[in-house]
């Protein structure tokens, strides 16, 4: 299809042809015909420029919904001449490869922002070019069958609500050493009430230095959120924050028990579950 410039050029050609007809000027005829012939030849080149390009692979790492990820597309040139100014496009995002040499693949990275969680096929990919003069845009469409896992959006409050009654939710793990008198800076959760009653003074537990916090995330903690997706997003945010902070965590939703751990594999397991979670699973 002609570009805006191509339409303008077409108008120029028409106008000059009319002038040549009107003035019956053979030199003007020659000029116009040569101009149009060059444009037509350029259009053929534009088409062949795209025709030579082939998509070898199309992949993207797992990502979060509403966040931009890079879709990697490997392009190769199956012809014997270089292809120039190859644009790969997903939606409004484009990436341009300036020169694609025959038999030497190049990779284009296009930004893509999935809007929903779950398994997605890579959106429709368009390879286009206006090379050499920008008169014509030639394109072809590629639909990938490869699927990408999109984790839920990381939306919600970063403050984790902790009721006193939920003392088991944030456990402290460590080797108990001794009891000592309560100090103002001590957390109330460390108070050993039994020993305090016995000794008629407030006593707190003192652990060895290998203390770490851990969190357990359950569906009940997010009952205050009405929207199902909002709840999933909140859990996702907390899990991600924990992973970043190096804190161990576990996820207990529906029948799913992740166990207390941390690390990429544990994160993947939890987030994948959340990405695939349906309403039926939590009822």
């Amino acid at each position: 299809m002609p570009t805006g410039f191509g339409l303008m050029f077409g108008g120029l050609g028409f106008f000059l042809l009319m002038a040549a007809l009107g003035y019956a000027n053979n030199l003007l005829y020659f000029f116009v015909f040569f101009l149009l012939s060059v444009a037509i030849s350029a259009m053929v080149i534009t088409d062949r420029n795209v025709h030579r390009v082939k998509i070898e692979t199309c992949s993207a790492p797992p990502c979060f919904a509403n966040e931009t990820t890079q879709v990697q597309i490997e392009l190769s040139n199956t012809g014997t001449q270089s292809s120039y100014l190859i644009e790969t496009k997903i939606g409004a995002s484009t990436s341009t490869i300036e020169s694609l040499t025959p038999a030497i693949p190049s990779t284009a990275n296009i930004e893509w922002t999935p809007s929903r969680r779950g398994w997605h096929t890579i959106p429709k990919l368009q390879i286009q070019s206006t090379y050499p003069f920008g008169l014509l845009r030639s394109w072809k469409v590629y639909k990938s069958s490869e699927k990408i896992l999109v984790f839920p959006a990381r939306i919600g409050s970063r403050d984790f609500r902790q009721k006193e009654s939920d003392s088991n939710l944030a456990r402290e793990i460590g080797i108990f050493r001794e009891l000592r008198e309560y100090q103002k800076t001590d957390s109330p959760q460390r108070i050993d009430w039994r020993s305090s009653i016995k000794h008629q003074t407030l006593l707190t537990k003192n652990f060895d230095s290998d203390q770490t916090k851990s969190f357990t995330f359950t569906w009940d903690q997010i009952q205050h959120l009405e929207d199902f997706e909002a709840r999933i997003s909140q859990l996702c945010l907390w899990i991600d924050d924990c992973e970043r902070a190096g804190v161990t965590y576990s996820l207990e939703v529906g029948g799913f028990l992740s166990g207390l751990s941390r690390g990429p594999a544990h994160l993947q397991k939890c987030l994948q579950f959340l990405a695939e979670l349906t309403e039926e699973q939590v009822k």
Partner: protein, 651 residues
């Protein structure tokens, strides 16, 4: 990012040359605007001068629009459109800063270039037009394009066949609307009046007026080439004026001794006179309507606004026997000296021959000087004539022709003055005569023996002017011109004046003649003839097309970059990647070719030597393509052998 106009060198050069090409046809003030715009833009980009805002340039464009309208009373005529486009496009140069501006200048530039053929179809313009055409296209190419000039010329070569087909086959339909808007600014010089000095002003330039070609290999001497334009019959002192001539409805031409010639006339907005040799019986043309007037004058029904060709038929036997009108016997008011001279000599000459001899002797006595700087003559018209004939005796052809005709009438011989051209420059390459403004001439015709006969007093006073031609004669110094005027012209060899520069000029002129003739002549009937000819010679057509295709292929191979070796190596590598993938060793994303080949070497030790050698060959093929092509051929055959030996896939 802001684009810089002068950083895009092809665009800057193309536009600057476009201005030069169009400048001769545009008003001076628009050329001035264009020059100012280019200089100002250069200074802004080079020395960070403050730029003019787009609002201001838009305002200037409106002013230009109004000025063009005031000057031309129109904006759609050829001249108005040229002026407007030149000025507006140059104001756009000042605004230039993004791709959109670039494309607009590209479009405007092409329109300006396309206007040039409307003013001139000379092939000399093809070179600057070609440079601009190339420059504009080149400016659109992205920097990533390797060898852009080669690429562009390949594109041009490939476009030639379609261009030729369209040019020769596209129907030539004439739409009359454009004729009314055509340029009214051709050369303006030819006048139907003769004033002292009017012809001498013209010889300062050497502008081509028309070309003449004789058919049937006729041998023609320069001295006989009198191209008649207008006939003037009404004298006022040294000035002669035309009278309205009736149409001559003519008689049949004699069939023998016909001199057939063709004239290609340049445009002249002030002129509808057509030029023909003496004793021309008829002029014919497919493109203009010709009227034959009395006194052997031919006129076009319309002024000559574009290059026009016509054919003439002349015969030495076609004497002009048209009876002189009373006007041609009319004796103007004469000065005292001339009146006294007439009274003195008239009783001595009774016959027409005696009168002619008397006049010839009067002018040939050696006292007259042929010069185009004689000064002005007399306070009154009659006194001016006396002063010329009896006192100063210096003048140009118009003085001699006019005064001779007056004296002839005073002696009772009907006479008239003819204005046109004499001689021309012969182009041996193209076998045609080039008649320029330098060849402008005036002479007299007298009615004796029942017919009109030419008398050229210049031939007695400056015979070399007639024999050598104006261009050669006026290139002589004044002193030599004077001394040679009295020499025997027959002993003078004109060939020594031709040097290699003239030969080159003649060759170019010949090529230009062929070119303009071809462009002028190719019309509907020529097209039909060509198509019939092609139909009758299909075999030659096919052969020519095949030959053309082969030539284009050769040119393209020469123009395209030599990346064949590089491509062969990469194709082999691509094949190796597929082979490796089928054997559970695919090339990883971002893995370099050499790294992958190293992996293959490790994985397939039986082919270690091959992969090792291919690494070197691949490396040199990509970075030193010309090096040792034999290696590549050997590698290729070895690889094919490996492929044959190994099973299709290994599970």
């Amino acid at each position: 990012m802001r684009l810089l106009f002068f950083k895009n060198i092809p665009l800057a050069i193309a536009y600057a040359i476009t201005v030069l090409v169009v400048a001769p046809d545009a008003p001076l003030w628009t050329t001035g605007i264009a020059t100012f715009a280019l200089v100002y833009k250069f200074l802004c980009e080079k020395y960070d001068w403050p730029t003019i805002s787009r609002r201001m340039t838009a305002g200037f464009s409106l002013v230009v629009f109004a000025a063009v309208y005031v000057q031309f009373r129109n904006i759609l005529t050829q001249e108005a459109a040229t002026a407007l486009l030149l000025a507006v496009s140059s104001l756009k140069i000042i605004d230039y800063e993004n791709d959109r501006d670039h494309r607009l200048i590209f479009i405007l530039g092409f329109i300006l270039l396309a206007l040039k053929p409307l003013y001139s179809i000379d092939f000399y313009w093809l070179i600057p037009l070609g440079v601009c055409f190339t420059g504009y296209w080149l400016s659109l190419l992205n920097k990533v394009q390797t060898h852009p000039i080669r690429f562009l010329f390949s594109l041009f070569v490939v476009s030639i066949p379609l261009t030729l087909v369209l040019f020769f086959v596209f129907p030539r339909v004439v739409i009359p609307w454009a004729e009314a808007k055509a340029s009214k600014q051709g050369m303006v010089w030819y006048s139907d009046t003769l004033n002292p000095g009017s012809i001498s002003d013209l010889i300062n330039s050497n502008i081509l007026y028309f070309r003449a070609r004789f058919f049937d290999s006729a041998e023609v001497r320069r001295g006989l080439l009198y191209w008649r334009g207008s006939v003037l019959t009404h004298p006022v002192g040294l000035q002669w004026l035309p009278s309205t001539l009736p149409t001559d409805h003519g008689k049949a031409a004699p069939e023998r001794n016909i001199l057939h010639y063709e004239i290609i006339l340049e445009p002249d907005m002030n002129n509808s006179s057509l030029f023909g040799l003496e004793r021309t019986l008829s002029l014919e043309s497919d493109s203009i309507q010709i009227q034959k007037k009395s006194n052997g004058v031919f006129k076009s029904l319309h002024t000559i606004l574009k290059q026009t060709s016509y054919e003439g038929y002349s015969s030495l036997r076609a004497y002009d026997t048209e009876l002189p009108t009373p006007e041609m016997r009319e004796i103007p008011k004469l000065g005292e000296k001339l009146t006294a001279w007439i009274r003195k000599v008239q009783p001595k000459v009774k016959t027409e021959k005696e009168k002619m001899d008397l006049l010839k002797n009067f002018f040939s006595d050696g006292s007259f000087v042929y010069t185009f700087h004689p000064g002005t003559y007399g306070t009154s018209k009659a006194d001016g004539l006396d002063e010329f004939l009896f006192l100063r005796r210096k003048g140009f052809c118009e003085h001699y022709a006019g005064s001779y005709a007056t004296m002839a009438r005073a002696l009772g011989v009907p006479s008239r003055v003819v204005v046109g051209f004499q001689g021309g420059s012969y182009n041996s390459f193209g076998d045609f005569w080039r008649i320029s403004t330098k060849d402008a001439h005036a002479w007299a015709e007298v009615y004796i023996g029942g017919q009109w006969q030419r008398v050229d007093p210049t031939a007695w006073i400056a015979p070399l002017r007639i024999e050598l031609g104006a261009e050669s004669f006026f290139s002589l110094p004044e002193e030599e011109r004077q001394s040679l005027s009295f020499a025997n012209a027959k002993n003078h060899n004109s060939n020594f004046l031709l040097n290699w520069m003239d030969q080159s000029s003649n060759l170019l002129d010949h090529l230009n003649y062929k070119w303009t003739n071809f462009l002028l002549e190719y019309d509907t009937s020529s097209q039909n003839d060509l198509l019939v000819e092609l139909k009758n010679n299909l075999g030659w057509l096919v052969f020519s097309l095949i030959l053309l295709a082969i030539l284009i292929r050769i040119v393209l191979r020469w123009l395209q970059p030599r990346q064949i070796k590089r491509i062969e190596a990469t194709l082999i590598f691509h094949d190796i990647c597929i082979w490796g993938q089928k054997r559970d060793l695919p090339r990883a994303l971002f893995q370099t070719p050499l790294s992958y080949l190293a992996s293959l070497r490790l994985q397939f030790p039986e082919y270690k030597d091959f992969f090792s050698e291919f690494e070197n060959v691949y490396d040199s093929a990509l970075y030193n393509p010309g090096e040792n092509p034999l290696n590549l051929k050997t590698i290729k055959s070895r690889w094919n052998k490996i492929k044959r030996e190994t099973p299709p896939t290994i599970s």
